[in-house]
């Protein structure tokens, strides 16, 4: 076969520009669609909601009582219920406050010591008072407080 023959230079340029533009256009469209697809999955995570944490009958006035709360969590298409521990403190009347049981240091679960009337973290010895303020040890912040309300004898917390 003899040497290939090109079209006229002007036409060649137009055709080449057409090929490049269309290829780039299709490539860019695909890149945009697939990029959005890969990088922006929907954040369908369950927003905070009021969940049942117990009843007033379970609580003793001014003593933090640990309660495990089942919290709905959405992970993509996967719905699960995370179990989270909170301490409920009843003022003896109609008011309940709730504290997260997660130590603000490295995330271990604190325990209530009835004798010293303090929360103590078993991991690195962080100590908090009954309202969650740091008494001693490495925790940088108080225990996180959780919104709570009493409705018809039931205690609801927002998690």
């Amino acid at each position: 076969m003899s040497q290939p023959v090109d079209p006229a230079p002007g036409r060649r340029q137009i055709l080449a520009a057409f090929v490049t533009a269309v290829t780039a256009g299709i490539g860019a469209s695909l890149a945009a669609i697939l990029g959005a697809f890969a990088l922006k999955p929907s954040r369908a995570a369950a927003s905070e909601c009021w969940v049942h944490a117990g009843t007033l009958d379970d609580l003793t006035a001014n003593v933090p009582v640990p309660h495990v709360v089942s919290v709905p969590r959405v992970d993509g298409w996967y719905r699960e219920r995370a179990r989270q521990m909170v301490f409920l403190v009843w003022d003896g009347n109609q008011q309940v406050t709730a504290l997260s049981a997660t130590c603000s240091h490295l995330g271990c679960q604190v325990a209530w010591n009835g004798e010293t009337k303090q929360f103590k973290c078993p991991c690195h010895g962080g100590v908090y008072d009954v309202s969650g303020r740091v008494v001693s040890g490495p925790p940088p912040r108080p225990l996180e407080s959780v919104a709570a309300q009493v409705r018809g004898g039931n205690v609801l917390v927002k998690l």
Binding site: P7, F18, L34, A36, F37, K40, P41, H52, P72
Partner: protein, 523 residues
């Protein structure tokens, strides 16, 4: 920049590579018919890309496959579009592949020395059909599941080793988790590897022999692929891509209900490109089925593959090859007509959004059993509507009847009285996975509740129910409301030989009246 490219070219030689890629000499007269190969390459690239990205969210397990595909279609940004591109891309690929094959036959391009190129093309055709087959199962909805059951059963028909082939395809004793992982692995690992090898072989052979060009040699000099032919290819690719985009924009067809191996009422149908084969099977009695399903397609395929050795004349012009042309026209017409017949021959199924009476009745059971006491927003369990429950009927049945299966911390199992109530509840919950409860008039709900509790164990309604009593789908064609009222209250008063128990003491007269009206309306 130029210096950088020079430096790179000295080491990589990309300019030479570019020249090899783009300056392929084409015979004069090469025209629009020769663009189809490039269109196929472009479509394959789109399939591979969209398929690779779909794996980011897809989970190949029966518990999650359906939910993950639904998540892609409904929640992920551009997910509907990406799934649409992949779904319709498969159909586009098959159509363009068929056109490419027809072009090759029409132009006699398989003639020596291009026999091996032709054979590799036939292998690619089978491979693409393999992709279509394995990909069809992945959404794990009713359509996917039952079409796969049928495909595997067709494999079983093969005279020697059919059972073996079927068991290899299934992976386990039934179509289930092992089938899904197996077909997923085939779809995303094994077949793509084979595809790349075959495409490279096909292209290398094409370049080695040069393209066949028009049937009669035209005067003039050969010209390079770029930019004239490349521009033709690009124009057709643009057209096809825009059409594909338009289809994909509307999204792939909605998912059906989650796969339910226990649902004997589902009528499976394959994707359109297998409809011809599906239709062909209907014309063969059970004994000759193997001929229609296996032998005939195999003979057709072998004849197609053997074309270079059958059609050995000198001229490539279609008018000089009347027998091949006639055979191809007949073959193509047969495939097209069988596909069209299969397309038309749909079963008269109800609307996909129609709610079976058992499911409507199941809602009454759910309400009565206080399921929504815990299955509510912010309560210990997710609302039924939000759970997109795709568990098997056995699991749901166990969940509602066995306290041990209820979530930890909940000690109040629903008090269900009978298997029939559990079945109704399961039907309701599974129907919820397909879409929200549309709402029906209170009287209709009440009647459905009675049917689900008392009637459906023995009578069929729209294909769902027992077989001890007559099918009541079209009950209104036979009797009037008064007859039904008397019959339900006390069958023996109507016919002393009646076997059906009397419901006069179990169901309130007003409910019997409503039931009679409901049955009369079923015509």
């Amino acid at each position: 920049m130029r210096r950088l490219f020079d430096w790179l070219d000295a080491r990589v030689g990309f300019r030479g590579g570019r020249s090899v890629m783009l300056d392929e000499p084409l015979p004069p007269g090469t025209g629009w018919f020769f663009t189809l190969g490039s269109v196929l390459l472009a479509l394959l690239a789109i399939q591979i890309l969209t398929g690779a990205f779909l794996t980011l969210y897809y989970a190949a397990t029966p518990d999650h496959a359906y939910d993950s595909v639904r998540f892609i279609a409904e929640q992920v940004t551009a997910g509907r579009l990406v799934r649409g591109l992949h779904h319709y891309g498969a159909s586009f690929l098959i159509v363009v592949l068929a056109l490419h094959l027809l072009r090759v036959v029409l132009f006699g391009s398989y003639r020596p020395p291009r026999e091996v190129t032709w054979l590799s093309g036939i292998a690619l055709l089978l491979l693409v059909l393999g992709f279509a087959l394995t990909g069809y199962l992945l959404p794990w909805d009713q359509r996917a599941y039952w079409a796969t059951v049928v495909s595997i059963n067709i494999g079983r028909l093969a005279p020697a080793g059919g059972e073996f082939v079927a068991s290899v395809l299934r992976g386990g004793a039934t179509v289930g988790a092992l089938t899904l992982t197996r077909w997923y692995a085939l779809h995303v690992v094994f077949l793509p590897a084979l595809l790349v090898l075959l495409v490279v072989l096909h292209l290398l052979l094409m370049r080695r022999q040069g393209i066949s060009g028009p049937v009669r040699t035209r005067p003039g000099d050969p010209y390079p692929f770029f930019p004239r032919q490349a521009a033709r290819d690009t124009a057709v690719i643009l057209l096809v891509t825009v059409a594909l985009g338009a289809f994909a924009w509307h999204g792939a067809p909605a998912l059906e209900a989650p796969a339910d191996p226990t649902d004997a009422t589902y009528i499976p149908r394959p994707e359109w490109y297998f409809l011809g084969l599906f239709q062909l099977l209907k014309y063969f009695p059970a004994r000759a089925e193997v001929f229609g399903a296996v032998t005939l397609p195999t003979i057709g395929l072998l004849l197609l593959a053997a074309l270079p050795w059958i059609d050995r004349g000198r001229s490539r012009a279609p008018k000089d090859r009347p027998i091949v042309m006639a055979a191809i026209v007949v073959g193509a017409l047969a495939v097209v007509s069988l596909t069209a017949l299969g397309w038309r021959d749909r079963p008269g199924s109800g609307s996909p959004t129609a709610w079976p009476v058992r499911a409507i009745g199941g809602r009454q059971v759910v309400l009565r059993a206080n399921c929504t006491k815990c299955h509510a927003e912010g309560d210990v369990a997710d609302p039924l509507e939000a759970t997109a429950i795709t568990r098997s009927a056995e699991w749901i049945g166990g969940h509602v009847s066995d306290p041990e299966m209820i979530a930890p911390g909940l000690r109040e199992p629903p008090t269900l009285r009978s298997d029939r109530e559990i079945a109704a509840m399961v039907s309701y919950v599974r129907q919820l996975a397909r879409g929200p409860y549309p709402g029906f008039p209170p009287q209709a709900e009440q009647t459905a509740g009675i049917i689900a509790r008392y009637c459906i164990g023995c009578h069929k309604f729209d294909g769902d129910g027992g077989t001890d009593g007559p099918d009541l789908t079209h009950a209104g064609r036979k009797h009037d409301a008064d007859w039904f009222r008397r019959w339900i209250t006390s069958p023996k008063n109507v016919d002393p030989k009646a076997e059906m128990p009397a419901f006069g003491k179990r169901v309130a007269p007003a409910d019997i009246d409503a039931l009679a009206q409901y049955l009369v309306a079923r015509r």
